[in-house]
């Protein structure tokens, strides 16, 4: 273990917060879906990678900037998410028990198709500014990460605006609190579920677009992203949106710190370490409620 200098420490914090913002975007949809439907969407990682591949294709063929392509990937995968919920997830009876296997099946189907088209070659999207960085008070701010962070913030802000200032958002939050009571006051819970799932999937699409320029990926890297995003929402408290944001920042920073203090190879262990500690000390996570019922 190496103790970093003060300068390196601050630099690492900066990078951690920037990457944490993107993690926050990636996991916000996952926790939203769980909150509304009690479904653990294991296909979330595959959707991120799908978003990344769409961005890749748009960049290679039409030179569309990854940030701009969010405008395309989000509505596209919103539709896909709607269809998945409407025709597959709405059929399962006890989501806590079976949703994991059903969504894992969807993840495999997507991974297989992506693998058949793009093979296992590792790819990434490299816009002109990929290696640029802004230097501010002797600290480096890589442009891709800065833009990723900013876009993530904007999408999260929009998500919050929808949830807190629109009728459909109120209906989603009501369903999160108590689906039966929501139904009683006249909310069409199955429609809300479809909307919430599609919304969650579209944030993952945006996350995928950002992922494509920050990380390299191939179809099978989806499993790494499932593990990361699941750990974040467990730490934050499953179903809690603010919890996911805080947890994403914590884990983003801790991951970067581990990478420089121990080695890069061990940095993913941070996620599982926090996952286990959370479950032992505080099973409800930072901001969640205790999940006691068994599906």
């Amino acid at each position: 273990m190496t103790i970093p200098s003060f300068h390196l420490f601050i630099q690492t914090l900066i990078l951690g917060v920037l990457v944490g913002g993107v993690y926050a975007l990636m996991s916000s949809g996952l926790t939203l879906i769980f909150g509304v439907m009690r479904v653990i969407n294991v296909a979330h990682g595959a959707i991120l990678i799908l978003g990344a591949f769409i961005t890749y294709v748009l960049f290679q063929n039409f030179q569309i900037d990854p940030i701009v392509s969010i405008v395309i990937t989000m509505p596209l995968l919103f539709g896909v998410g709607w269809l998945i919920q409407r025709y597959i997830l709405s059929r399962i009876e006890s989501p806590e028990q079976t949703s994991v296997l059903v969504t894992f099946a969807l993840a495999l189907i997507m991974e297989g198709i992506l693998g058949a088209i793009f093979h296992t070659t590792i790819r990434s999207v490299k816009p002109d500014y990929a290696t640029d960085a802004i230097i501010l008070a002797s600290y480096r701010f890589p442009v891709t990460r800065l833009m990723g962070f900013a876009s993530a913030l904007i999408v999260i802000l929009c998500l919050n605006l929808i949830l807190y200032y629109t009728n459909i958002g109120r209906a989603i939050r009501a369903t999160m609190q108590d689906p039966r009571a929501a139904q009683l006051v006249g909310i069409n819970v199955s429609k809300i579920s479809a909307f919430a799932f599609a919304l969650g999937v579209s944030t993952a699409a945006a996350g995928g677009s950002l992922l494509s320029m920050i990380y390299s990926f191939n179809p099978s890297s989806q499993t790494d992203w499932i593990a990361k995003t699941l750990s974040i929402i467990v730490l934050g408290g499953m179903g809690s949106l603010p919890g996911a944001l805080v947890a994403a920042l914590i884990l983003g920073v801790m991951e970067q710190l581990t990478a420089i203090m121990i080695t890069l190879y061990w940095s993913p262990i941070v996620f599982y370490f926090f996952l286990f500690i959370t479950l032992i000390i505080r099973p409800q996570g930072l901001m969640g409620e205790i999940i006691r019922e068994k599906g």
């Binding site: 994991v100 296997l101 495999l108 991974e111 297989g112 599982y272």
Partner: protein, 329 residues
């Protein structure tokens, strides 16, 4: 009813008889190979069934115990010359010990959180296997010498036969244990936990102890299978064994045949494993085989989540009562 009872005794004996002579009659290496893999799938699904079926805790982490068994056997074989056919039975006790510790933490959670934790367990083991390269040789994995006994290598034509019989022995032991557990107070306790954990606790069952024990036992047979597997292929690497796919395969097999039943996982294995082999040989060149497997999983989860055996049982019961009422008239 009498007929069903007789069938329950006769069918397993017939099955055992067929499996005993199988490698003598079927000399094709390809089909012998598929049978070894099918027996292994039956062992893993039956063993998973003890925690996943009886106690109702859907663990997706059992691939970790499969891989751990495989790595322990491969490592001790290369390092100390322990023969896998002997060592795997003892090394799987270590696996079960690790599973008890993992279970002690993981089983504090329920439902969704439990599934998430068990997924994380696989990733932790993968990370360890990738990074503790002094023992595991990192991403390259461990290779073992070609199978044999007492310094003599088995001839290539007969290579699969010993593996067939040791896997069959393991399957018999697994089913026997599963049957004994189901008959016992311990098994009743597990089923009570599945039905209503709160009430089970209220009537005096030490639910935590029961669950952790079931978790450990179910890891044992999977650990043994992992040890035999790593010798069968003489090769093991982190990406292949520490994969959710391995866990999901055993869960799918157990659910397809009938989760929580004694013979369901065996039936599921005999359907699923040959099918999986066909899919891989047909589409293995591309990644499309993942899509096909995912499609099968989706189909089973949506249209037959009950499994084959419970559905068959229900059908027989209805048919039975119908014929009885017909004869009464």
């Amino acid at each position: 009813m009498e007929k069903i009872r007789i069938a329950k005794v006769v069918l397993p004996i017939v099955l055992l008889g067929i499996l005993l002579v199988y490698p003598l009659v079927e000399t094709s290496q390809y089909y012998q190979h598929i049978m070894v893999m099918t027996l292994m799938a039956a062992v893993m699904a039956s063993s998973w069934n003890i925690i996943g079926g009886y106690a109702g805790y859907t663990s997706l982490g059992h691939a970790a115990f499969f891989g751990l068994g495989g790595y322990l056997v491969a490592w001790t074989h290369n390092e100390y010359g322990w023969h896998p056919f002997v060592s795997t039975w003892f090394l799987a006790l270590v696996v079960a010990g690790v599973a008890l510790a993992v279970g002690w933490i993981a089983l504090r959670t329920q439902g969704s959180a439990f599934v998430v934790v068990t997924i994380a367990v696989i990733f932790i083991f993968r990370l360890l296997a990738l990074n503790l390269s002094a023992i595991t040789n990192g991403a390259q994995g461990l290779t073992q010498p070609r199978p044999g006994w007492g310094g003599v290598q088995w001839s290539p034509e007969l290579m699969k036969v010993p593996f067939h019989y040791i896997m069959l022995l393991l399957l018999c032991l697994t089913i026997y244990s599963s049957w004994r557990i189901r008959q016992s107070k311990f098994g009743m306790g597990l089923i009570a936990i599945r039905e209503d954990e709160g009430k089970a606790e209220a009537v005096g069952i030490d639910t935590m102890l029961y669950k952790v024990l079931a978790f450990g036992i179910s890891a044992y047979f999977i650990g043994v299978a992992g040890g035999i597997y790593s010798y069968f292929f003489t090769y093991i690497d982190p990406g292949f064994v520490f994969d959710i796919f391995v866990s999901v395969t055993m869960v799918l097999i157990a659910i397809l045949g009938g989760r929580g039943t004694l013979w369901g996982p065996v039936l599921g294995a005999f359907i699923m494993q040959p099918l999986a082999n066909w899919v891989v040989s047909e589409f293995g060149g591309t990644q499309i085989h993942l899509t096909v497997f995912g499609g099968i999983l989706l189909f089973v989860m949506l249209f037959m989540p009950q499994g084959i055996l419970p559905a068959l049982n229900e059908f027989l019961m209805r048919w039975n009562s119908k014929t009885r009422s017909a004869s009464a008239n």
